[in-house]
Amino acid sequence: MLKEKIGSIRLGKLSAEENIRHFLGKIKNEDGKINAFIKINDNAIKEAKEIDKKIKKGKAGKLAGLAIAVKSNINVKGMTASCASNTLKNYISPYDATVIKRIKEEDGIIIGMTNMDEFACGSSGETSAYGPTKNPVQPDLIPGGSSSGSAAAIAAGFCDIALGSDTGGSIRNPASHCGVIGVKPSYGLVSRYGLIDLSMSLDQIGPFAKEVYGAALMLNIIARKDEKDASTFDVKIPDYTKLQLETLTIGMSDDFKKLCDKKIYDEAEKKVMEVCKENRWNLVKVNLKHVNLAVQAYYPLCYVEFFSATRRFDGRKYGFRIEDACGPEVLRRIIGGSEISKAEHKGMHYRRALKAKELIARDFNEAFKKVDIIISPTVPRLPHRIGDKINPEQMYGYDALTIPANLAGICAISVPSLKINNVPVGIQIMAPAFQEKRMFDAGHAFELA
């Protein structure tokens, strides 16, 4: 239990150095089979010793001595931020992303940079130029993506908390497949400064942890307005870690049911009904009639914004020219984005997608007038075997249930709640924008069930 571990570190029963040495040993012995990390922080033990001195003086921060793994698209000064691509394989971050600065201010120790789908383009963890990440629960299966290494690192017990980024489900999807907690914060809650973007209007950095408490603790540290990211909001941040069991009205939607494997949806619905009964929550149906357009709206937006974001990777200032160094999925998105940009004078792609995005957001706004939270399974199907043949639209379908939250700008958490064929299946809990406290409280109820 993380809360108890933090207490032990504060009381000197466990040193930061011991904690870090434990994880480094485990990574050394076991990560060869998982491939969760791309780079380990060589200074981690030195940093832990410094933090131990602060702990002894009673001046340590809230994350003192904890091992934090970071997705390879977030800048950590002195570490590689390769985005799991040959394009940036030699790129060393010259600065800390805002989230990293805040973690360091609270004495968290960055243990290493995790594997991911190349430039976050993927939902399976297979598109990394460093080789696929394996699912620690069943290593022949995909762990999900794109934050594959961060989810796997938590599931394998390689760190205390990890950071990922979520554009259409890249935190929640691997959290579901690996059986861990994953949080996509509301758009504008967490600074994106220092995140190498996939789609800037949708990206959010968020935490992975074994328990809701760990994710809540991390979000409390990283959530705040940042002058370096104009899209962040100045909202009141409550203490997310004070988890309570509240009385809630829960919404489920048949519009999600239509997008989901029947067995997964039925089992999830059964679980939700059980939890509602236990907690005396009211369960009602809500109408989200445009969510069936989420995938089709998301990809044009993502393709174009990614195409635009990658124009800086021209090999002149750093790295290699992306089109010469990347794998097929990244290239497909660059080509797709370029095609849309060329054809957009007809307004068929990007403008239509923006309209669908707005309709989806309105559906959620209406639904949240009737309910406190909306629940669905996190991923509509079980993970495939690594290397299995799968077409792009099937792959994009993995995110059919997670994309709507990104398009609507709301917050969502995946909590491991079921096992089907011995594979973990997460339940997704969505709450209105900036209602993360309510989302964590509901997540905690599922955790206890």
Binding site: H290, R332, E339
Partner: protein, 92 residues
Amino acid sequence: MIENFLWRKVSDEEKSELKKEAKQIIDRFADALKKVESEISETGLVKRDKNARDETANECDQEFRKIFLKNAPKTEKNEKGEFISTEKGAWK
């Protein structure tokens, strides 16, 4: 044709296949989104009234405008005032 999603170096043949495939995907998605055209107008997206552009131009912060024009590598003037000249074709 792409077999799976594992990373590999992209051949020229695969590159042209990807181009074809990307175009098919975006066209299919655009077709699926056709129905939104009748459900929402563009004004709902950007929330501006008919004359918003002119009004905004009239309300422009003059200090901002001055600095902005000073930053620009090339400006020109016409009867409406000074403006930034970003590109000039051989036809002019």
